[in-house]
Subunit: 152 residues, 2 copies
DNA sequence: ACGGATAGTTTCCTTTGTCAACCAATAATA
DNA sequence: TATTATTGGTTGACAAAGGAAACTATCCGT
């Protein structure tokens, strides 16, 4: 039983490695780093998000978040815009190029998955999907983390 | 069907984030970075490994690998030793402290998993394990990667 | 209108990894 | 055997990236 948890842990870690920043030979996300890509995804998902919210979502300080957004902006993938409601806050939104870059990355990985999973039947694939979903949901349902706090 | 692949991709990415270098508030692995921890795991797994092999296993250049091993050595987790067969190569091996540090990290994550998965029954947990296994095996059975080559 | 709070940016600093040059040891060849 | 090429590893200069703290601009409460 405990062994099963250890297995799960090691497997997750292996996946985290394979699909993280170093797995795909450093070229994990086109001209984006893994972190920049995650930020772009968050920005896309909420369609209007502030600098600090982006940072909070990704466990970065606000200065770190500001710089990540700088890089995305320099690449033309997001745009800053002063909020009409509050002159201090920046509304970050994805540009057309940003959306299409993200779509391209998803496309690329999806076809990679298609390829490596082609041996499997649809039932097995469904099963993988729901197992992952269960895992991610369980992790999100926990407010805190194994070590330290989340605040920053 | 394609949507299912996209789901799987996004879920893996979420997991990669949660269990990667930034997920746990930066404190992912005690006094080790994610990368250092992965290197320690590789070193532990093979019990005798060279600097370059470590680098190759983790997609780092040899100088990068050398420095990662420097840091592990400074922390007292691995030891360098000149190979008796070839005076050029370094045999890296984990120290007692290295083994116990790795065990501690595994312990910590395992109990975290225990906690977040406590709602689930043993059958569901078994299912998660085998789904992850299937995924990781499928990825490893592919020699190459979605973009670029592996060589360095 | 003024003092405190809040969102972002910028500057300085540390960490990390690559590239290229280098050293030492082995292998190959004349 | 002497010499040259190759290979494993380390080192130094450099660039990228993110945190802390100082700074700017705006908003809110009195």
């Amino acid at each position: 039983m405990d062994q099963k948890m250890i297995d799960i842990y090691n497997l997750i870690q292996e996946l985290a490695w394979l699909f993280g920043d170093h797995g795909f030979n450093g070229e994990c996300c086109g001209d984006l780093t893994f972190i920049e890509y995650m930020a772009l995804k968050k920005i896309e998902a909420s369609d209007q998000i502030t600098v600090q919210e982006t940072g909070r979502a990704l466990n970065f300080t606000k200065s770190g978040a500001s710089k990540i957004i700088d890089r995305l902006e320099n690449k033309g993938y997001v745009a800053r815009q002063v909020s009409p409601l509050d002159g201090r806050v920046c509304c970050i939104s994805p540009t057309i190029q940003g959306r299409s870059a993200a779509a391209g990355i998803i496309q690329q990985y999806t076809s990679y998955l298609d390829e490596i999973l082609q041996e499997l039947g649809p039932a097995e694939i469904s099963n993988i999907r729901s197992a992952l979903q269960l895992l991610v949901d369980s992790a999100h349902n926990r407010a805190d983390w194994p070590v330290g706090g989340v605040g920053r």
